[in-house]
Structure formats: C-alpha cells, structure tokens
Amino acid sequence: MGRVVIDVMPKPEILDPQGKAVVGALARLGFAEFAGARQGKRFELEFEGEVDQAVLDRAREAAQTLLSNPVIEDVVAVRAASDPE
C-alpha cells in the first residue's frame, strides 16, 4: 500500500483567519515567539501498489482540481509518504 502526501496552504497574499486566530492563541498561551502562523491542509491518499511518478502526477492532478481551490490556495507539495518534503 503506497501513500501520497499532499500539502495545501493558503496563498501568502490571502488573509488566513485561522492562522490569525492561531497566532493570537499562541501568544495567550505564552508562545509569543511565534509571530506568524498559517494553517493549511495535509492530505494522505492511499494507493494500492507502489507510488511512482505516474501516481504522483495523478495525485497532483487531483490536488489541483479537487483538493485545493486555486483562487486562495497553493499545492505546496505532492510526494510519496516516505519522500522528503
């Protein structure tokens, strides 16, 4: 069973209310050193078999059509679960 990891983050220029809320909460809990935060999504897709380039291409296609909204989000990574980021 192979696994593909897809990371989706809000575009840097887009306001990220969740990230803003996280910074506020971090500060209140004494983690003020983290002055910025953004919150995105991480998907793990399971695939029957090896994850090769063809699978990654398909996963990227899925990431771009369904798993992210290009108006506000970027697909920042598509990789096999074992690969480095």
Binding site: E13, I14, L15, D16, P17, Q18, L66, V71, I72
Partner: protein
C-alpha cells in the same frame, strides 16, 4: 415561472427556498444533484446548507455534481455580457458558485472562528441583476445571516474590478459579521444573472418567521425580482 431549487446531499434550506419561490408567486421545481436534467426551468436557486458536509472546502464537492455541470454550462462564462441562466446561490450556494468559478473570490472561515446566526442589515447596491431588480438602489434590508465560513475574500485587483464594474450586489451594514473584505455580502457576474449572497433572503419571506425588523419579509424581493426579470426577458 418555473424556478429550480437544487438539493445536494446535505442541503438544508432547499425546502425554505421552495417555499420562498411559492410565496413569491413562482413555481418551484426540485432538482436533484445527481441528475443533469434541469427540467427546463427559467432560473435556479442553489440553497444553503452543508453540501457533502462541507468537508474538504464548502461547496467544493457539490461543484462537481452532474447538475452543476449543466448549470455551469447554461449560466455561461462569468464575464460574458449577454445573459445566461439566472442563478442565485445563497450561503452554501454562494460557496458552490465561487468553487465553480461562476463568481470570483472565495469564502473562508469567519474571522471569529465561530458559526454565527444573526439578523443582518444589508444595503442593496446593485439592482440591475436578475435577483435584485425589485429593490431600490441603496435600500437597506434585514435578513438572517447564518454561516461558519462566510468571509468573502479575493485579491485586491479582483475586489477593485468588482467595485469598478458595479458587481457588489449587497454590503453588510453596522456589523461586518464574518470579516468579509470591503463588507461584501453578495456579488454578481458581469451580466447580473448569477448572484451569490451569504445571508438568507429565503428566511425572510413570510411574516412571523423571519427577523423582527420590517415584518421579516425583506428577502422576498429576491424571488419576485427573478419572476420580473424572467418575465421581461
């Protein structure tokens, strides 16, 4: 006049939209997400709710349903000036419209990170749409707002373009409940046929069951407008 109301799995305000169409004097026609046939309706309402649980992103999964493929085709490209099928997306329906790229921008989590339900004051800013021609320009109305992800965002140039082209249909007054950029509550496509609105006009069409203000029927004109528009077309 036949107005279609789409039911996706997880749609909630579909029955309310049907009722609103009927109160306005139209004939509601129920449309099913899985059926590309829109039964020859004159206009379509995409109702509020949590289509597919709003998992992934609000409206993202509904956008790929067979009925939406057909609606996207009939509505025409967002920037075309000649008019296509009139579509009103309310709340989740608005989210479906932005996910479908029939309208620009996106709707994100409320600034306060909480679901909010309140009687919301709006100003109608564009009346040359299929859904707001029954209002006076600048008219102030109160209709319910209820959403968790109702913050309208777009990049500055898109916002400028929307303003410049007069495509902001309604703006929040008094309180910006969800952090929407430039207090935007609703927008339209270029021709004014497709309108997305975060608050719920269908919940303000019947005296006694809407907000206290103005008898609670401030939303009715969205539906009577559609009948007007369709008649005069």
């Amino acid at each position: 006049m036949r107005i279609g109301v789409v039911t996706f799995p997880g749609s909630l305000d579909d029955r309310d939209a049907v009722r609103a169409v009927r109160i306005a004097g139209g004939t509601p026609v129920s449309l099913w997400h899985d059926d590309a046939d829109i039964k020859g309706v004159d206009a379509v309402v995409l109702p509020g709710g949590f289509s597919y649980g709003d998992y992934l992103r609000c409206g993202a999964i509904a956008r790929f349903s067979p009925v939406m493929n057909e609606i996207i085709r009939l509505a025409g490209p967002p920037d075309q000036v000649s008019s296509g099928l009139p579509v009103l997306g309310i709340c989740n329906g608005f989210q479906v419209l932005t996910e479908s790229h029939l309208l620009p921008g996106a709707l994100v989590r409320n600034e306060k990170q909480q679901f909010i339900c309140r009687d919301q004051k709006l100003r109608i800013e564009r009346t040359s749409t299929a859904w707001t021609n029954g209002y006076a320009e600048g008219q102030e109305i109160v209709i319910p707002l209820k959403n968790g992800e109702g913050g309208f965002i777009a990049d500055e140039s898109t916002l400028d373009r929307l303003e410049g082209e007069g495509r902001v249909v309604a703006r929040y007054l008094d309180v910006n409940p969800n952090g929407s950029r430039r207090d935007i509550a609703g927008i339209s496509n270029a021709s004014g046929t497709v309108v997305g609105l975060m608050p719920h006009p269908e919940h303000a069409t019947e005296a006694g069951y809407g907000p206290e203000a103005n008898n609670g029927t401030d939303g009715l004109a969205f539906f009577t407008s559609a009948l007007q528009g369709v008649l005069s077309a």
